[in-house]
Symmetry: C2
Subunit: 139 residues, 2 copies
Amino acid sequence: MTKDIEQRLKSKNIKPTAMRLLVLDFLMQQNTAISLNDLEKGMGPSDRITLYRTLKTFEEKGLVHHIEDGTGTTKYALCMEECDDHHHHDLHVHFYCNNCKETFCLPNTKIPQISLPEKFRSEEMNLVIKGVCDRCNPG
Amino acid sequence: MTKDIEQRLKSKNIKPTAMRLLVLDFLMQQNTAISLNDLEKGMGPSDRITLYRTLKTFEEKGLVHHIEDGTGTTKYALCMEECDDHHHHDLHVHFYCNNCKETFCLPNTKIPQISLPEKFRSEEMNLVIKGVCDRCNPG
DNA sequence: CTAACTTTGCAATAGCATTGCATCACAATT
DNA sequence: AATTGTGATGCAATGCTATTGCAAAGTTAG
Ligand SMILES: [Mn+2]
Ligand SMILES: [Mn+2]
Ligand SMILES: [Zn+2]
Ligand SMILES: [Zn+2]
């Protein structure tokens, strides 16, 4: 149902254009975080910059979040929490597989509370764990 | 004492060239992590690429570690733990100040143990906290 | 001194992120 | 229905950082 997708955009105050419907549809099919390149290759022929700005818009509106996994290439994934245009609260851990080079959201693995030194105030946290993912692990 | 610095290089199996002595000296004067640009500006006139490779060498030998703080620019800082050419164990937290834009090592703030989902195996961890640093915090 | 190896400097390239601007699509207004 | 304003899109250009190739200079061992 494209209605679903359209509704999801509207609920985040994003105008549901054709391009945006396609991008969101594509994002919903992923089970790993993807790069702008991945998006470009995965979609039909479309302008890279428009895709870039679509992702930016989605992020601003709290529909996707970006992940800096240490590869130098920003990855994007749908938000699972109730993010909005004012706050992202992605306190889940991200995982980068050294073997298959995929980046995962681990929505059920939360970043624990950290007690910082005196007078440091935390506003955001980003924890990336690198290793071998479930699919690449034998056994 | 330049002898000190020289010894520190030798103990990590790094040949103490003039350039490397200067770079290490500079690094030891910092109390935040610095970028290649910072290094270039902070040093006398010197070749950017040589500085880049010097940092790479230092990192390979376990003298410095790099930090991806999410700004897109890699930062470097001296290792405090007993890293060697085979293993970095920087399980401390890094902090990026949204106000002064500096990146800090918090050597006394360790990354807690995280229990990952079934079959995910951890090899490295990187936790960056963003917020306001002690120097930028009133009170 | 010579030969082998390492470090340095300069030039070039590769990648990704980001911006400017003109055009297009759409929806509200008259 | 024509007008007009706003946002979305497409294309070109740029900026910035990381990275590599190669030749010159420096260092060390025999
Ligand atoms: Mn995520
Ligand atoms: Mn550190
Ligand atoms: Zn994997
Ligand atoms: Zn600060």
